[in-house]
Symmetry: C2
Subunit: 403 residues, 2 copies
């Protein structure tokens, strides 16, 4: 199927005031949706990072997309396009070819190993807002209440705590409170996004041995490949084999190759948005399996197209060893751009669809509204630090490590 049109939509939608090491989420999150239209009018969709830089990277490959065979277009962009642009084209081309052939994307990725994809509750320290239904959470008790609501609403069976925000002692106590309250069988993860020094990471690693055992992991406690390798080596030397996970130091095949001899990480968080697309994510599973690494899945604030793309990749990845991350509970139902409406998460899982392509189509009214949001908001990139300075501390600066 030849590609006859390529449309790039920059969107903005409501996002609650969530904290991370990078600062505070702005009230609007940015996202880009693309449409690849085939010569027969079939439309393939993908969703990726928002703002001007991704939109420009996508625009830059227009000449390599229009008029190309949708079956090979992404493969021919490998090494030529930025990985983010390549990834979006890969997803949209797979959606298009799935719709053309009547096959779900998972069938084009090699098959479906599971009917339901488990996701993890993704808990954030946050300010109050008037719409998300989640309260302010700036201490262990607030965090526990948030996690309990996430579990009550969605049935999540594992929990990730976004850390690197408050004093490490508070974050450690938050995780300990989760363990005490939720019991021993819920896998827990903590992710300070490299906000901790090697020494702080080591002391946290020692304090959280029990909390991070039983299917959990310690995600990006500290900065850089060497720092991660040092944390791993020193914890192991003390008999602590909590797996270190990352979406910061292993972000590509070359960095994966670099990490293997260093044993810098034991779990890779794949993300089809920057690893090269859905096939590359399935291949990442094979590479991780070959080298004895676990595989999980990373998320940014996203809508239903990305969620479904994650679901199809997860369905086809034999080695996916952990529940996937998702920000989906933090988005509003009315901002869902999929015509099929908000995608249900029940018992912590999304059901793998058998409908053609990704299984979703665009709601043109919501698309138009979110494009209008983008045009009006004046933001062209995510800037959590600016939001932090606006609401918390006018002198706030991103520093790494902070503790």
């Amino acid at each position: 199927m030849l590609i006859s049109d390529f449309r790039i939509h920059s969107l903005a939608f409501a996002d609650p005031p969530l904290f991370a090491a990078s600062g505070l989420h702005a009230p609007l999150a940015l996202r880009t949706v693309i449409e690849l239209e085939g010569a027969d009018g079939t439309i393939g969709l993908a969703e990726t990072h928002g703002g001007s830089v991704p939109a420009e990277a996508l625009e830059a490959v227009r000449a390599d997309v229009i008029g190309q065979d949708a079956r090979s277009v992404a493969l021919k962009l490998v090494g030529k396009a930025q990985n983010m642009a390549l990834s979006a084209i890969d997803v949209a081309a797979l959606d298009l070819m799935g719709k053309v052939t009547g096959q779900p994307v998972w069938a084009l990725l090699g098959g479906k190993l599971r009917e339901r994809i488990p996701f993890s509750a993704y808990a954030f320290y946050k300010l109050e807002d008037d719409w998300s239904g989640f309260s302010r959470a700036m201490d262990p008790a607030g965090m526990l209440a948030q996690v309990q609501k996430l579990i009550a609403d969605y049935g999540f069976g594992s929990v990730k705590l976004k850390a690197g925000v408050l004093d490490p002692e508070i974050e450690i106590e938050s995780l300990k409170l989760l363990r005490r309250t939720l019991g021993p069988d819920v896998p827990l993860r903590i992710d300070p996004n490299a906000a901790w020094s090697v020494e702080t990471s080591l002391s946290a690693g020692r304090e959280l041995v029990e909390e991070l055992s039983n299917g959990g992991y310690f995600e990006d406690p500290t900065r850089g490949m060497a720092g991660m390798a040092e944390v791993r080596k020193r914890l192991l030397s003390e008999g602590i084999d909590t797996p270190l996970a990352t979406n910061m130091v292993v972000v590509s095949y070359p960095t994966l190759a670099e990490s293997v001899p260093l044993d810098a990480v034991q779990v890779v968080l794949g993300d089809h948005h920057y690893w090269g697309g859905l096939r590359a994510t399935v291949e990442l599973g094979r590479v991780c399996q070959t080298f004895g690494l676990g595989l999980s899945m990373h998320s940014n604030s996203h809508l239903g197209i990305s969620l479904m793309a994650m679901v199809h990749a997860a369905a086809a990845t034999s080695h996916l060893s952990y529940a996937c991350d998702t920000h989906y509970p933090w988005q509003r139902a009315e901002d869902e751009i999929c015509a099929e409406g908000r995608i249900p998460i029940t018992d912590g899982c999304v059901t793998v669809p058998d409908a053609p392509g990704l299984g979703v189509t665009l709601n043109p009214d919501v698309l138009a509204r979110l494009k209008e949001n983008y045009a009006r908001c004046g933001m062209t990139r995510r800037d959590d630090a600016a939001e932090m300075r606006k609401h918390i501390d006018p002198n706030w600066q991103y520093v790494c490590p902070r503790w």
Copy 2:
């Protein structure tokens, strides 16, 4: 598409008297063809190793194949079936789904990067036969004549010499004669199948620096991962960086992982028949690329179904860095089981088909004849040593290394 029937055909077809370190090819080569029939009557094909062991391994997965969804059947066999059986099911299921959706297999593997797949001339020391059109070749001049005929008939642009048969001096002189006659631009490979000791490999590696440069490689000179690593290390220490290739020590993902820190090989010869199928072969390309290894493709005596499967995998593999091996010129046109007839190799290349599936279907008359051959021949496994004892030396034994 649910799989309603699974047929396994054991075949035998004419094979000329070619020598390798394992002995001498028998007059009949064994091969297995499978058919997966979908509920709508569509038939998916695959071809794999012959004789009773592969047929039994395939029979053993019958209950995991019949009634399954063709889109996921192979993925669900990973880790459960022998790789050879898994691989055949993967190919046949892809052919079936390609035919059901009207898509070539390359489209189901991620796309087509090239229109024509280059193959290498595969030259063997051989006895006289009365049908292949190739003369006896038991010295450098005979080998040169064979290679020249292979190039004249098929246009091959690179040459692989199967060694480990005659005294290494004769084999080295054969390769030198090829280089002198063919000029500097034809990549040459030599493959003694581990018949050489480390010391013999080192002296051959020193003598063949020029012959194996410019896109060539030194394939499996010696036995075992440690032996290969030693040859590599010592040649490198002398400033000789001829890449070592293998289809003997790296034959699976675990052995690949083992080889990387040892730098035991620099080129992996993939083979979809035992690496887990076509998707696994494409994934192998990614793993090799990640770890800086080259990728080529291995062959055994085969018919057109395997050739087309190799072509589709090669079309979709971005990192395939060498022309593929093929025994196809050694088979008779009248033994071709594909209804489309013998597949043309011109300018050393096979054109990637755009027809649905692999692009071939069965010729029932040839299939019946080759099944009859198998039933009558009494052979149930390849035994090059027995053939060697019959024709060359009644006391011949396989030894490794021989020189």
